[in-house]
Every structure is written in C-alpha cells, then in structure tokens.
C-alpha cells in the first residue's frame, strides 16, 4: 500500500496519481470526501469530489479554484490510478473514495454512517484490500438509538416548550447535522428559523434537490418579534452568547453523538442532549468492516488504537494510520464531530448577528 498511498505533512498522498486525499494544507490537486472544513481545505488549486457535493463545495471553496465532480460509481483515471466515489451516508455529497492501482483496491471511507438519512444517499459496502476507516466513536458505549425515536423526542421537546411559551434553540453543525435535523422536525408544530450559516447550507441542499421544510433566516426578522413556540436551528458556537438574548425565554438542545455520555452533556451545559450522529457507532463500524472485508483495516480519528487492538484480537489485520500534520485523537472530542466544522471560516450573517464573531474568535 505504501507505493500507492503515503502519509505526509499535507495529508494522505497518492504517489502514482500525484494527488492528495482530504489534504490539511493547500495543495495542487485535492480529492475530497465531503465539504466539512476538516476534509475540504480552502486554497487548493483543483478539487475533485462526488457530484452531489458540488453545491456545498462551491459554496465553501474559493471560486477561483478548478472543480470537477464525478457522479457516484463513475471512474476517472489519473496517473494510472482509477478513482471513483461511492455514497458514505455522512452528509449530502459525502463519499467513500475507491482507488484502484494495478489490481490493488484501497477504500477511504472519509466520515460515514450506516442507515437511512433522507438528506443524503446511504452508505454501501465496497470490497477492498485496504480500508481506511474513521473511528471517531470507536467504543462499545456508542450505540445510536433509532433516529425516529430521537426525532420524536426532539419534536416532543418543541411541543413542551411551545406549551411553556418558550423558544427552542437547537444546535447542529451548519452543514449536515442541521439539515438532517430540519428534515426530522415536524413543521406543523411551529415556525422554523435558522442561523445564517445554517440557512446558507439549506440553500445549497435545496439547490441539490433535497427537500427541507420551510425555514426563515433569523437575521431577516426585524423589530420586536414574538419567538414563543418557534424553533431556531443554530450553530453551537452561539451557545452562551448575547445572540440568544432576542429569543426571550428559551430552551437549548444539542444533537450529537457525544451526548450519549452524561458527562459530555453536562460539559455542553445545554438543557437537552439528543444522541444523533453522522458517524458510525460501534456496532455499525463492526458491520462496515465485516461487509467490506478488507485484508487490512487502517484506523483514523478517535479511538484508533482501541479499535485496532480489538480487531487484531478478532483475527483481523488492523493498524493505526498515522496522519502526519493532523492533530487527531482525544482532542476531536471536545470540539465534537466539530473537527468537522470550523465556524471561524463560516460566513457570518450581517447586522444583528455580529455577536457570532465574538463567539467564534474568543
């Protein structure tokens, strides 16, 4: 595998194809799994990604860059390396990257989850020799409840807040989590508003043809407004900032895989923590590896060493992939799947949303 892929300070580098996968620094040619900012970095010359990723990637990257988008399942050859994209089920346009070079098949999962999500195509297993898998939630304590149950309890919380004359503030990442949440909300309960960054994400989703309930940009509401019974979907960085003041009496909730553990819920100091993740949990990680059945599994993100040790004991060749120049591991945890989401490079709404700047730079 070393002859094909190597770990460098700019990220994973494909030697015969002369391109980087999800580079962490600007490079000439980037092949990216999805539009989250820890995978698609600003400043590369050329980007190659899956077709459904187009709207999100163009929204976030410099318009001066050169883009190429490939439908899922189609192949392009660069330097003798066949590249193709398959759905990863993580967010809209997210892909697993399949590389084939002289008969050797390498699968880079990127971020992924199993199961149905109405806002993106579902993950599918791919046979391969080497599988590079994320293990952000690679511990048996992480077992996601069914999303139906989670959506039901979020909607119930909304109804309860409406009864109590409160406004709901639900935190999710600007692209991906927020839209998945929107799709699960019951719009008959009340009006849905979105933070500027979320609203921009919504538009990209809608342009791609994903159906989302009607949403209003918070910043477009002027003057005195009654927020009782409303649902506001916002990025987590506004938590605890003056931006929330205008909503009067409100209740906050966070939707994330980390909410499975009480200690993490407390650290977030939100009123409700809902367990909803766009990454694989323990059982689905095991299922994915079983179905892809690679000769070797390489683990990145999160509990890499733990998962590797477990797999080795199970008789599988598993190793930790050292990604040079990338600060991974424990640290991801505090900023959540948020290494996914960097709000600093997030476009900031105008006018009355300025407190976000304080929130993100402090």
């Amino acid at each position: 595998m070393k002859d094909v892929l190597e770990s460098t300070s700019r990220g994973l580098y494909c030697v015969p194809g002369d391109f980087y996968i999800d580079p962490c620094l600007p490079v000439n040619r980037a092949v990216v799994t999805h539009a989250h900012s820890d995978h698609a970095r600003w400043g590369c010359k050329r980007y190659l990604a899956a077709k459904p990723c187009e709207q999100l990637l163009r929204m976030r990257m410099s318009p001066d860059a050169e883009f190429r988008f490939l439908p899922y399942g189609e192949t392009i050859t660069i330097g003798g390396v066949q590249i193709s994209f398959y759905p990863a089920g993580h967010i809209l346009g997210s892909a697993q990257i399949r590389l084939e070079y002289q008969g050797l098949v390498i699968l880079i999962t990127g971020d992924y989850k199993l199961g149905y999500d109405s806002t993106c195509d579902s993950w599918q297993p791919m046979r391969c020799h080497h599988m590079i898998s994320e293990s952000t939630f690679g511990l048996p304590i992480y077992r996601w409840p069914s999303q139906q149950v989670v959506f039901e309890s979020i909607n119930q919380w909304w109804r309860d807040c409406r009864e109590q004359g409160k406004c709901c503030v639900l935190y999710g990442y600007a692209i991906g989590k927020s839209q998945r949440l929107l799709a699960g909300l019951d719009p008959t309960i009340g009006t849905i508003y979105c933070h500027g960054a979320v609203q921009k994400g919504n538009e990209a989703y809608r342009r791609t043809g994903i159906h989302l309930p009607e949403t209003t940009y918070v910043g477009s509401v002027t003057g005195k407004h009654d927020w009782k019974g409303a649902m506001v979907v916002a990025v987590p960085s506004v938590h605890g900032t003056p931006w929330l003041k205008k909503f009067g009496r409100y209740s906050t909730a966070m939707a994330s895989g980390w909410m499975a553990v009480r200690g993490a819920r407390r650290r977030r100091s939100v009123d409700r923590g809902y367990v909803l993740s766009d990454h694989v949990d323990w059982p689905s990680l095991m299922t994915a590896i079983h179905e892809c059945n690679p000769e070797t599994v390489w683990l990145t993100h999160g509990f890499t060493a733990t998962v590797a040790r477990y797999l080795v004991e199970q008789g599988r060749d598993a190793r930790v992939l050292d990604l040079l120049g990338r600060d991974l591991g424990e640290e991801d945890k505090d900023e959540e799947e948020s290494s996914d989401e960097d709000f600093i490079d997030e476009p900031i709404g105008q006018g009355n949303e300025s407190p976000e700047i304080e929130a993100t730079t402090s």
């Binding site: 511990l139 048996p140 304590i141 077992r143 553990v261 009480r262 200690g263 733990t306 477990y310 004991e313």
Partner: protein, 541 residues
C-alpha cells in the same frame, strides 16, 4: 420505574432549584404511595447495600456486549461512571418493563443479595434485556449502591411538604430517624392530622449560621447581627452534636447525622435514665474529665466508631453530655417557646437530675461585644471552636434559619472534603505527595474546590503519600488523581463567589485541620453546603 427514571433524568439535567422542585412535586403527585416512599428514601440519600459485586457486573456486561474485559475497562475510563458504563456497553434489550419502583426494589433488586452467583447472573441479564437506557442507569445505580442525585434532603422535604400541603417543619420531623419505606409510612408522612410521635423519633436539629468575623462592629457585633442584649453566648463545643431522648421509659441518643447511637455512650445512656419521661435534650457529646475540662476532639475520636466500648477506654476517655437546649419538657413539645424560657426550664430540670454526666452549658457573661471577642480568643485553650450566639427571644427552628443561632468561630469556616488529586511538594518534603486538591459533592459528582498544603504531621503525610502511590487512577504531568477515599476537615478564612472556579466559589487560606478517619467519602459535605457558608447567602436547596 419509568416515572422514577424520568425524575432522575429531570433532576440530573438541570442545575436550577426551581426546576428540580417542580419535577419532585410532579413526581409525588403521580406516584403511588409505595413508590413515593422508596423515592423519598433514595432521594434523601439512603442506599441499598451493594447487591452484586461490581467485579461480576463488569464481567457480565463485557460478556453481553461481546467485548473483552480490557475494552470494558477502557470504556469505563472514558465514561467515568460505572453504572453508566454498565448501561451503555450492553446492547439495548427487546422488552420494556413497566413495573413500579417499589416492585422493582422489593421483588427484583433486594432479593439479589441472597442469591447464588449463577442466579444473580440470570436476573441481571434479564434486567438488561427489559430496560431502556434511562431506566437501566437508575437500576444499575441502585444495584451498585451508587445512587446519588443533585437534590438535598431539605429540597425533598420541601417537595413532599408542597405536595402534601403540610408544613415542611412537620415533614422534616417525620423524616427524622430511621423509617421503613412503605406505603403506610408515606401516608403518615403526608397526613394532615397530627400523629403521635414514635418514641424514638428525634426532632430536626436547629443549625447555626456562620457570622462574617471580618465585619465586626462594636455596637452590632460580628457580622452586624444585633445588640448584645438580644443574645446569649456559649462556647461552641467541638464534639458530637446529639439529642438525648427519654420517652416511654426508654433512652435514645441520636447524632446530628440522624444515626441512632446505641450502646456507644453508656455513661450518657445510664444517666439519662434519671431524666423524667417525655424529655428531649439537645447538646454536645464531649470527652471530658469533669466540668470544663473538655478534652480535644482527637480524644473523642478514639471512641467514635467503636461498637463496643472497653472499660479501659471508658476510663481513659470519659464523656459527658453538655446540654444546651430543651425541646420536650414533661411530654410537651416546647420548641416554639423563647430560648430564655427553654433555658430556664433546662437549668431547672438538670439541677433536679443532678448527674455529673449531664451538664448545662455555661452562659458566658459579657457586657460588650469587645468583651466577648476577647473571650472568643481563648476558645482554643478551652478546646472549643469559638462562640455560639443565640437570640434570647427566638424559637427552636428547623434547620438553618438565619438570625436565630450564629456561630462565631475562631476558624470561621470548616468543611469535610474528599482528597482527589495530589502533587509532590517542594523543599523539606520534596518527593512526597504533600499538595492536595479537595472536592465536594454536587449530586453524584465530586467537584474540586480547594487546594491545601499544611496542617498534617509527618506521620500522616507519609501515610497519605503511600495511599497516593497505591491508589493513583491517572497521572496528568506531576498531578495524580486518586481514588476518592480520604476525607479531611478543611478550614479557611474566607469565601467568595467566583466564576473562575469550577466549583463557583473561591476559598481563602484553606488548610487541613484534621484527617477525618471517622468519615467515608460519601459523608463529605456538598457544594451546596459550602455555598450555605457564604456570609450573605441563604442556604441553597
């Protein structure tokens, strides 16, 4: 059980007293009385003794999750809570029990204790199979004896009182002592009719507020509490606060921790036989070689925890009951009478009894606050902690009511805390773990609040050093986190609200007063109690 689990969750996810109270009251409204009795029992801090060894629970959880033991331990390490790890690692079951809390506790949990291992295994696996996460967590906390939640007994008392429409003083009294969590008990607890007191039942203790000694005014005294003529002053003894009850020809001695201390203080028990029936005294158990020859607390400690007291020890460390209040006189509850009247009756009563093991605590004469301030300076020599200032015209209140009793300590603030981190010291003691971080309870969590260095002798420091080395959980650079096991009494000069501290409170000059060998970590104080010491705060919860 579904409702109780939801109550636990509602209390667990908020820090607001009001929301906790509302959740409690709603629970009592909906629960049947047998459930409400158990809920009250657990919420007030009573526990079932551990029902199944945790070693077995861990092994079975790993087996159910189909993971090796080391992976369970790694998960535990990440979660930091055993019951929660046991809850999360095991895959969800396919049934959902709708049995009530009392059925669960009485028919499923308590019987676990008497079972053989194989049978316990079966029951525990069945529990995993029929509990959703919320319920599982609570049940496993009950099984492991680690059930704790962020409410104080006084908050539970308020909630029951609100639900029952009975004053919280009455509820508080009915919750004193030992009781069995049954529907009958709960019905009596919330009954609007006056019930006959059970003969052993103590009264809720009246507790003192600390004064802020920094605010001394020659006219209005420490903390500006008022004119000297309104107050009586006594020594604040450093012993064991207790009530001596003489009812129905029987004697009961209770500690402030509501523990019935049987056969522990034979001198006092036998002297109490001389009290007329229908008498309840409040006072302090002190090691003493006769009147006003009080021995240091360390002496008394020799007798604490001894179930059987040897004759040798009885001679070495004799105890007296230093009475300072009379709560029941000739069968009558006199707590609403003024202190001056209760005191008069107390003096009369004990002069007729006239037994050397019963003393009436002396009132300290004084014509000015300055004079009392000087007397207070001699507290250490008297083996007292300072002065108590009691308002002459006040009733005997339930709990810590402001303005009734004040404590004017030499070391104004003391609290029992758990050692959780240790670091090596410098200079003379370098190489030994001498710098400690202490924590207080907040619900089921220990929250660090103070660092303290001095106050222990070399022998004790060596003991702690060995303990740290043998009980390290984690090392962060030079700091070791240790199993929470050691309880120390800390003293400090001042307290301040602070947003920079995790605990929300900053302490000035904390130091270790003594190692409380007699206390277990769960006996340490809570963050709420520390907050309650703030000179200008109302007690929380």
């Amino acid at each position: 059980m579904i409702r109780f689990a939801a109550l636990f969750d509602a209390i667990d996810r908020t820090t607001k007293t009001n929301e906790k109270l509302t959740a409690l009251v709603n629970y009592f409204r909906e629960a049947d009385h047998a459930d409400a009795a158990w809920a009250t029992y657990f919420l007030c801090g009573s526990k079932l003794k551990q029902l199944v060894p945790t070693k077995l629970l861990r092994a079975w959880a790993a087996q159910e999750a189909d993971i090796p033991p080391w992976l369970f331990e790694e998960s535990y390490h990440t979660v930091g809570d055993l019951a929660e790890t046991l809850t999360l690692t095991v895959p969800p079951g396919n049934l959902a029990s709708d049995e009530s809390l009392s059925t669960w506790v009485e028919q499923r949990l308590i019987p676990l204790r008497g079972m053989a291992e194989a049978e316990q295994h079966q029951v525990v696996v069945a529990i995993w199979n029929e509990t959703p996460l919320e319920m599982r967590l609570v049940i496993l906390k009950l099984i492991t004896g680690a059930f704790r939640v962020g409410v104080s007994k006084s908050m539970v008392t308020r909630a029951v009182a609100e639900y029952a429409g009975v004053s919280s003083d009455v509820i508080s009294h009915r919750l004193m002592g030992t009781w069995k969590p049954t529907a009958e008990f709960f019905e009596k607890l919330i009954s609007k009719e006056v019930q006959d007191t059970i003969s052993s039942q103590p009264f809720p203790f009246c507790l003192a507020h600390p004064v802020d000694p920094a605010l001394f005014d020659p006219e209005l005294g420490p903390g500006g509490i008022g004119k000297i003529s309104d107050f009586a002053a006594e020594w604040k003894w450093d012993g064991i606060r207790g009530q001596v009850i003489r009812r129905d020809q029987q004697v009961f001695v209770w500690s402030r921790g509501e523990e019935l201390m049987e056969n522990r203080w034979p001198e006092i028990e036998s002297a109490a036989q001389l009290l007329p029936d229908g008498t309840v005294l409040d006072g302090e158990i002190l090691a003493s070689l006769g009147e006003n020859q009080v021995l240091p607390f360390a002496q008394l400690q020799k007798r604490i925890g001894r179930k059987v007291v040897s004759n040798k020890l009885l001679k070495e460390v004799p105890v007296i009951f230093q009475a300072f209040d009379l709560l029941q006189d000739a069968g009558q509850d006199i707590r609403t009478l003024q202190f001056s009247e209760r005191r008069r009756r107390l003096e009369n009563l004990l002069s007729t009894v006239n037994h050397p093991n019963f003393c009436v605590t002396q009132l300290i004469p004084g014509n000015s606050w300055d004079e009392w301030s000087k007397v207070r300076g001699q507290s250490r020599a008297m083996n007292a902690e300072g002065l108590m200032l009691k308002r002459w015209n006040a009733a005997y209140e339930v709990g810590r009511v402001r303005g009734v009793w004040w404590k004017w300590k030499v070391s104004p603030y003391t609290i029992d805390a758990v050692l959780i981190y240790a670091q090596k010291g410098h200079g003379k003691r370098s190489g030994l773990y001498t710098d400690y971080t202490f924590a207080l309870w907040d619900g089921d969590r220990l929250v660090p609040f103070a660092k303290a260095y001095s106050g222990l002798d070399d022998r004790e420091i060596k003991k702690i050093d060995r303990f740290v080395r043998q009980n390290t959980k984690e090392a962060f650079g030079p700091v070791r986190s240790v199993a929470p096991a050691l309880v120390m009494e800390l003293a400090f000069e001042g307290l301040q609200i602070s947003s920079r501290h995790k605990s929300g409170i900053a302490t000035r000059f904390p130091r270790i007063v003594r190692w409380r060998h007699d206390k277990k970590p769960e006996d340490a104080n809570t963050l709420n109690e520390l907050m309650g010491l703030l000179p200008d705060s109302e007690p929380q919860g």
